[in-house]
């Protein structure tokens, strides 16, 4: 086990290193950061001076060395727009994104588990067919459009729920969260529903397919022949085995939710790190883009690692190499 953990740790570092090289290279071929910093009235001599001061006249590999060194010290540069460290900006906005993702996860699980399990157990019932049709429609929906429809109906037409911002927050362990206040909770409803929809539809289809797959297997037929009741067969034999791969995909989905939060946060003006990314792209705020990518890459690598560990823990057949 320890050997496996060490091996995975090395792999994680290699992946993050690769990501840092790619992000650095791609970003250095685009735009000129010097022009973002100097005032528009600067003379050529002043621009050249600024370039030297920033170290941007040195060879690319030296620049990467500096970048990596700073990265390891937790220094990801200063935002051109906010004039504050990019890392601080992102860390400040992280709780907002995480709470949005958390509620979407909760919502999609609460709906997808019962629906998917039922559709897998009774694939031919009218309800299951409706669920399957609905979930196919769900994966075809552009999430930003759903957000717009929800805003139009619930906020503009009915005035029931707020359409933008995060509302009031209350601290938990010193971190401000919106869901702890009634006003904040009202703000989270529409974005969380929007974000959950795609994952929910995908999970339903996955869970159903897994259950149907397991129900066809020999050990189920054997248990059936042995006279195990349908209820116990389904819940203690089939369900347990069907949900193992769901855990992996679900872990991947959390990463994808963080990515799609950029869209949802932009629509609902939710002050999370995804909206910060989109704003930074529009203002060409390079340090913030780089910092976001590095932090999110680290999060994904960590999530994948945790998923792998959980997977080996719940499925004894997986052997640690």
């Amino acid at each position: 086990m320890l050997k496996y953990l060490l091996k995975r740790l090395v792999q994680m570092i290699v992946v993050l290193f690769t990501v840092s090289v790619i992000v650095f290279l791609v970003m250095s071929f685009t735009g000129d950061p010097v022009l973002m910093i100097v005032p528009p009235t600067a003379t050529d001599a002043q621009i050249a001076e600024a370039r030297t001061a920033l170290g941007l006249d040195r060879p690319l590999w030296v620049q990467y060395g500096v970048f990596l060194q700073n990265l390891l010290r937790g220094d990801l540069g200063v935002s051109y727009i906010f004039k504050r460290p990019a890392l601080t900006l992102i860390v400040e906005r992280m709780p907002a994104t995480l709470e949005l993702v958390f509620f979407s996860v909760l919502l999609s699980l609460a709906v997808a588990l019962p629906c998917g399990v039922y559709a897998g157990a009774r694939p031919n019932s009218p309800f299951s067919r409706a669920v399957m049709g609905g979930s196919l429609l769900g994966i075809s929906l552009p999430s930003f459009w759903v957000g717009i429809l929800l805003i139009f109906y619930f906020a503009v037409e009915k005035g029931l729920l707020p359409s933008s911002g995060r509302g009031a927050t209350a601290p938990l362990f010193g971190i401000p969260f919106a869901f702890l206040t009634w006003d904040g909770f009202r703000h989270i409803v529409l974005p969380a529903v929007t974000l959950a929809l795609g994952t929910l539809a995908m999970l339903i289809r996955l869970i159903r397919a897994q259950i149907m797959e397991v129900m066809r297997q020999d050990f189920i037929r054997f248990a059936r022949a042995k006279g195990v009741s349908w209820r116990s067969l389904f819940f203690s034999h089939a369900l347990k085995n069907a949900l193992v791969p769901v855990v992996t995909v679900f872990g991947m989905q959390i990463g994808s939710l963080i990515a799609f939060a950029t869209v949802t946060e932009t629509i609902f003006a939710w002050p999370g790190m995804g909206k910060l990314l989109v704003d930074s792209i529009n203002t060409a705020d390079r340090p913030v883009i780089v910092a976001y990518l590095m932090i999110v890459a680290a999060m994904f690598v960590l999530i994948n690692f945790i998923v792998d560990i959980v997977y080996t823990l719940i499925d004894p057949r997986i052997d640690l190499r």
């Binding site: 992000v23 429609l137 075809s140 929906l141 139009f152 797959e213 994808s256 989109v278």
Partner: protein, 294 residues
């Protein structure tokens, strides 16, 4: 040819297809869009890119069935007097064009690399699969967003970015299938009669792994159209001069609060309908080609 055609109409595939309401609905929707984007521009009332044909007097017109609607503008107009239906026809064109070109490019690239990696194995194979693994551990949307953020908006750039995130699906699937096929006797036989690797790969292995490819490619068209719409919505996709359906939704959202709900609702409905149709077909194909379900 005619015997072959007759064979198709008597095949199990055709038999199942005409009896599947989902597949027929999918075919209907996709055909509708194909006709719309090829013939539609001939009879749309306006060329939405021709600024000269716009008249500000036509701005803010609601759809024809609402009070104040104008029969010339069936789905209403935007804040500049642009006919929404015309814009949607041209937008569908761009969305479908991007969807199809990205799928063709990633399919060719991914299949080729997957075939080579799977057949030859070795160092190339492990390098390629490492790249695929790393890339698949990041959501495609985010990778595409990053590429577009770096290179700026543009049709060619968008197709390139979506191909860079798309080829891995094909490479992984093809490689897996090749590893299975490689052990079969017909490959040994082809080798024994002295064929060199590339004819074997292209003329013997490739035809045998086409079915999973068709399924992936079909569903991929829908995914690409959705991703493209999302990127364009975020303002990093197609240029403003070539609005796809996603950009139309964004433009519509900007005027939503002045009451022009139609200019974001209808383009979005088009995206949903198009992707839903493609997914219906993809779903049918997957069930049909999956031997385990039979």
């Amino acid at each position: 040819m005619s015997a072959k055609k007759e064979g198709f109409f008597k095949s199990e595939f055709f038999h199942n297809f005409v009896r599947s309401p989902g597949a027929l609905a999918g075919l209907f929707i996709v055909t509708f869009f194909v006709v719309l984007v090829t013939a539609g521009p001939l009879f749309t009332p306006q060329n939405p890119y021709d600024i000269g044909s716009l008249d500000l007097m036509d701005a803010f017109k609601p759809p024809v069935w609402m009070e104040g609607g104008d029969p010339a503008f069936v789905l209403g107009t935007d804040d500049q007097g642009r006919d929404l239906l015309s814009a949607m026809v041209y937008g569908s064109r761009i969305s479908l064009f991007i969807g199809l070109s990205v799928v063709v490019l990633s399919c060719v690239l991914g299949t080729f690399l997957g075939l080579v990696a799977g057949y030859f194995g070795g160092r190339l194979d492990s390098l390629l699969m490492r790249v695929v693994d790393i890339q698949l551990s990041f959501p495609a949307m985010l990778v595409a967003l990053f590429i577009m953020a770096a290179f700026g908006r543009g049709l060619g750039k968008l197709v390139t970015a979506l191909t860079i995130v798309g080829w891995v699906l094909y490479a992984r699937t093809v490689r897996g299938s090749v590893l299975v096929e490689k052990k079969k006797e017909y490959v040994d036989a082809a080798r024994l009669i002295g064929l060199s690797p590339f004819p074997i790969i292209l003329r013997h292995v490739l035809p045998n792994i086409l079915t999973p490819l068709i399924v992936i490619a079909t569903i991929h068209v829908g995914t690409v159209i959705l991703t493209e719409a999302t990127l364009s919505y975020l303002g990093v996709g197609v240029p403003v001069t070539r609005p796809s359906l996603g950009l139309l939704v964004k433009n519509g959202y900007d005027v939503l609060f002045s009451g022009l709900w139609w200019s974001s609702v209808f383009p979005g409905m088009f995206i949903m309908l198009l992707v839903f149709g493609i997914n219906l077909l993809g779903d049918f194909l997957r069930d049909e080609f999956n031997p385990r379900l039979k």
